[in-house]
């Protein structure tokens, strides 16, 4: 019944349908990039300097094989964007999953146990909130580069990023879940479970968890957009993904040099892709939040 109400509300909202469609196209293009991209941008053999700085269609000098133009090394922008979106999405999604797992666990525990455990966990969340993701990334990055040998930096960078972004975003999930847990904990069905002697972990996992996940879905969707932006910001600042594994943020940074020398497309198109992706995900998240709300009335 919930699903059909949700579907009904979805069909009634043109914005939801449109943003879902856009998001779906972008996500599919990103996920399937290795198979459907016209060119593999990491394959050096593909590069031909003669193709460098081709403008996008329909400008003069453009080429059908490079619909969005090429960069300074002749790399196809469309493929670069598709692969870049893929990385951005992977980092963003992984970071959100990390934040959700940690946040939900902490929130459940804090809400159900109460007392000192609750106080301690929520103060930990507060402390975490004082460190924005950029700061976290720099911190973690610094630690990791001190520990690892140089040649391994690049391969680990993606995990560093996922960890840094994820760990800066778990407190919101913890707070939301804690609030819902506090409400559910006092309900009679939890008391009925306690009565037959079920352990606390079992009650939290089987009874309370399913009832607090609703807001998590909404928050997760919105956080996905934010996480992608976090990663783009970090990459743009140079502490994110390296040029060997460029995300959209990295692409924007690399193309930034050419913005005012005439080859604007090298930075603008990755930027547009980023905007479209985050916007459509955010709109979807907004709709989801509103659609799930009236049911609570």
């Amino acid at each position: 019944m919930l699903d059909s109400d949700l579907l009904y509300s979805f069909r009634r909202s043109p914005l939801a349908v449109a943003s879902a469609a856009v998001a779906l196209i972008l996500i599919l293009a990103a996920v399937l990039a290795p198979w459907i991209a016209p060119q593999d941008p990491t394959d050096v053999a593909n590069l031909n300097l003669l193709n460098s700085f081709n403008p996008p269609l329909p400008l003069d000098g453009s080429d059908w094989t490079f619909p969005l133009g090429t960069d300074e090394q002749g790399r196809d922008m469309l493929s670069a964007i598709m692969f870049g979106s893929r990385i951005s999405l992977i980092v963003g999604a992984a970071a959100v999953i990390f934040a959700v797992v940690v946040g939900v666990a902490v929130g459940l525990l804090a809400g159900y146990a109460g007392g000192m455990v609750d106080a301690f966990l929520m103060r930990a969340a507060d402390v975490q909130l004082t460190f924005p993701s950029i700061l976290m990334a720099l911190l973690v990055d610094g630690v990791v580069s001190a520990v690892l040998p140089r040649n391994m930096h690049a391969t680990f960078q993606i995990y560093v990023l996922i960890f840094a972004i994820g760990i800066s975003r778990w407190p919101q999930f913890a707070r939301t879940v804690r609030g819902s847990t506090l409400v559910e904990r006092n309900k009679d069905y939890v008391m009925a479970a306690r009565l037959i002697g079920l352990g606390r972990v079992r009650i939290m996992a089987t009874h309370i968890l399913p009832n607090v996940l609703g807001p998590v879905l909404v928050l997760g969707t919105l956080t996905l957009g934010l996480a992608i932006l976090d990663e783009a910001t970090l990459s743009f600042l140079g502490v994110g993904l390296p040029p060997t594994q460029p995300s959209l943020g990295t692409l924007i940074r690399l193309g930034d040099d050419f913005l005012f020398s005439g080859q604007w497309w090298v930075t603008i198109f990755p930027g547009l892709a980023l905007v479209l992706m985050v916007l459509s995900i955010n709109l979807l998240g907004d709709w989801l939040r509103d659609a799930l709300n009236p049911r609570l009335r």
Partner: protein
Amino acid sequence: MPEVPTLEAQGISRLFDVSRPWLQRVLSHEPRLLLRAVDDASFAITRGSTLSLVGESGCGKSTIARMAVGLMPPSDGEIRFEGNPLSTARAQPALRRRMNMIFQDPYASLNPRWRVRDIVAEPIRAFSILSGGQAIAGRVGELLVQVGLAAADGEKYPHEFSGGQRQRVSIARALASEPDFLVCDEPTSALDVSVQAQILNLMRDLQQRLGLTYLFISHNLAVVRHVSDRLGVMYLGRIVEQGPAETIFHTPRHPYTRLLLDAIPDLEMVGRSRTPVGGEVPSPIDPPPGCTFHPRCPLANARCRAEQPAYTEVGEVQVACHAVAEGRETA
């Protein structure tokens, strides 16, 4: 030889610390605030009978319900289940499953995300009464039919049922552990009158068929009259009158019991006017000294204001009232 009562409470009390957080207390020089929700209550329920505890809000009946089933330990006094201390009984699965509870709110007592068949099966699984999907499903079906639903209703979610039907599911779940003793915390207060009649009749049938013992909590005296063998009237944490239900209804002795019986709007009251007693139930945090009922009692004297009354036996009824002890009450 008298049989061991199924549940026996001796002098139980329960205190809640409702003080403000430590820092605020220290800064504003406030003392600790202790709420005495239950004060020295004693009762015994024999097997197969129903004891009802009745009273208005804040009288402590819900707290007693929680203590009787072991969800909360008493601050003082002792509770025994078939002669065993309750805490020991709760620690053993074999005894723990013999007691269960039915709750007031049909909308909060079933997990909205679970199907009914899982809700009812949970005690069966928790106590390993049966194993194997087939056997459990069969038993769940039986239980649902026993409470007046259909076996196929197990597939549904709670929100697909009405309030009365949800209470039936609650009862089915409580019966799943094959209990002997059920605490019923206002099971029909949230239901419409005609649905209430169905549920009360159902509970009566189940008691007769399965030999159940009930501790029935309610604020509705008419319902209580219908279901009880014995009755305890509570006021601000104390049981002020206790005894066979019919005797109390026929000849209420404690002034509060009389007030309650007079106050209830009743179908028979058509055309009659009443003279209600004034005042309201005082806050349990700061109860009046002596007999807590004295501010509202027409028979209060100086002794009532100073000294808490002990129980007086009047036939089979115990009454905590100085006026009764001194023979001052009017007929």
